[in-house]
């Protein structure tokens, strides 16, 4: 870091104004690239194992379209509202930003609630992580995504607090922007979980 860290450019949106912010945002994008590789490995594991059900139930026996659809719509909508939050931030409206972030949070919490319910339901049916390779890979893949969403919720809460404390600064704006990237990314992962885990599991 040097003077560059404080190179300030008024023409850019708030979150891009300092060199430090630009570095952070790029770094986070690259981290997301690593996350793609991480989830790809989990998907590869799941796809290799999902028909190896041992003595446990199969995907077709387990999944229910209704639950999955509700989770999908919740997360999809939360990604949209998160986008709206950034839109509001770029218009300089902090109340709009916080409002949309709160909606996003609520939708995310709803998603997590449904997911936990789904997991509990499976466990009650005797389908646990230890039952078969299929279920191990299912719980770890979907669970890793769920853990990411939970982390996202906690993180967003921290940032809302900072927004309330400090208002719009290049730093808080950058943090909001980065958490929004994270949130959208989780939706991208979910799209593939929806397709390759649930839809595929229900057709094969």
């Amino acid at each position: 870091m040097g003077e560059a860290a404080h190179r300030y450019d008024e023409t850019l949106p708030l979150e891009y104004r300092t060199q430090e912010s630009r570095l952070n945002i790029l770094g986070f994008w690259i981290f997301l690239g690593a996350e793609v590789a991480l989830f790809a490995t989990l998907f590869a594991t799941y796809l290799v194992l999902f028909q190896r059900t041992g003595s446990g139930p199969t995907a077709g026996e387990l999944f229910e379209v209704q639950d999955v659809l509700i989770e999908t719509l919740l997360l999809l909508t939360s990604s949209f509202t998160c986008g709206l939050a950034i839109f509001e931030m770029r218009r300089g409206r902090i109340s709009g930003l916080i409002a949309w972030l709160l909606v996003t949070l609520l939708l995310g919490a709803g998603f997590i609630t449904f997911e936990i319910r789904e997991f509990i339901h499976y466990v009650h049916e005797g389908a646990t992580m230890q039952t078969s390779a299929f279920l191990s890979s299912f719980f770890v893949l979907v669970g890793t995504h769920g853990a990411h969403v939970s982390v996202g919720i906690g993180w967003m809460i921290l940032i809302i607090i900072q927004l309330l404390q400090r208002g719009f600064t290049p730093k808080t704006a950058r943090k909001v922007f980065i958490v929004s990237l994270y949130w959208h990314f989780l939706d991208v992962v979910w799209i593939f979980i929806f397709t390759l885990v649930y839809l595929l599991g229900m057709v094969i």
């Binding site: 028909q51 190896r52 059900t53 041992g54 003595s55 139930p57 199969t58 995907a59 077709g60 026996e61 094969i204």
Partner: protein, 301 residues
């Protein structure tokens, strides 16, 4: 392969230099068509590799000697050259050609090794089960089983169907050909063939735990008639294997050679355990195999 022999001559001095001799150097002493195919491929590659080594080492030596800093050339200023497109194209093209020259026979051999080396003789099948730390050989057609040694007819392709109870092992008889893994819940196939009667050392090439170093076995190649004779002898004299005895054999530890006049395949085939493509082969009473059968039952198809 006159050319290959000639190249072998280049390697041999090294072997003698290091106190080995050809007979000891199992990989370079092929005793069957499979090993020979691999030997030829190895020798073919060794030629190119020696060529590369000679070229690089020569350039290296010449440049080092000519261009070192000496009091005489104190005023010499090395030229500021960026590169030389022509040269760079040349030393990109030559490796490409060499790789191509190696890739074609490699692909051919890789495919060829999956088939018996000869069509004329009907191959025999031997199931190989690796366990901690012994090799179990089952002859499904002859209905006999051996432990830690295996008899095969010379001149006949042998299909070894490999699996494992427990850690992964690798089935390797260097004089007869390359290895393949024996893995739990899987079946891999390795085809070998011996030219003539003889005894060949085999061993596990993949670390499988404490006593792995002792996982050796002997491959005894016999003439067709001797082999038949041996099979009949085993059938008449060897004891029967039962599940209790078999479970005992599977226990981790070392055992000597054993011979039985039936096979464990009657009640369990470890290759079918836990796999997706279970064919629902009937397995008898014992708990383990029952479980194995349900485990491997595929619900979706």
């Amino acid at each position: 392969m006159k050319w290959a022999r000639w190249r072998a001559v280049l390697v041999l001095p090294f072997l003698f230099l290091f106190g080995g001799c050809v007979e000891r150097t199992a990989v370079l002493n092929p005793q069957g068509p499979v090993a020979r195919m691999q030997y030829d491929l190895i020798m073919w590659s060794v030629g190119f590799m020696l060529f590369i080594i000679v070229v690089v080492f020569t350039l290296f030596a010449v440049f080092l000697i000519r261009y070192r800093e000496k009091p005489e050339n104190a005023g010499y200023e090395p030229p500021d050259e960026e590169g030389n497109t022509l040269l760079e194209v040349v030393w990109t093209a030559i490796p490409i050609l060499i790789v191509a020259a190696l890739a074609v026979p490699t692909v051919k051999a890789t495919f060829a090794l999956e088939k018996p080396p000869t069509e004329k003789v009907k191959p025999i099948t031997i199931h190989v089960t690796a366990a901690n730390w012994k090799w179990i050989f089952s002859y499904p057609e002859e209905n006999i089983e051996t432990v830690n040694y295996v008899h095969i007819p010379a001149g006949v392709p042998v299909k070894f169907k490999l699996t494992s109870v427990g850690p992964m092992n690798s089935f390797w008889v260097p004089e007869l050909g390359g290895q393949k893994y024996a893995m739990d819940g899987m079946e891999t196939e390795l085809i070998l063939q011996a030219d003539k009667p003889g005894s060949y050392m085999g061993r596990s090439a993949n670390f499988s735990g404490e006593k792995f170093a002792h996982m050796e076995f002997e491959v005894v190649a016999q003439t067709g008639t001797d082999f038949r004779k041996w099979v009949n002898e085993v059938k008449q004299t060897a004891p029967k294997l039962d599940e209790k005895k078999y479970t005992q054999i599977l226990k981790p530890g070392l055992v000597g050679r054993m011979t039985f006049s039936n096979t464990h395949l009657q009640w369990i085939d470890h290759a079918k355990q836990n796999s997706h493509h279970a064919d629902g082969k009937p397995m008898k009473n014992d708990d383990q195999s029952d479980e194995a059968m349900t485990n491997s039952h595929h619900h979706g198809e």
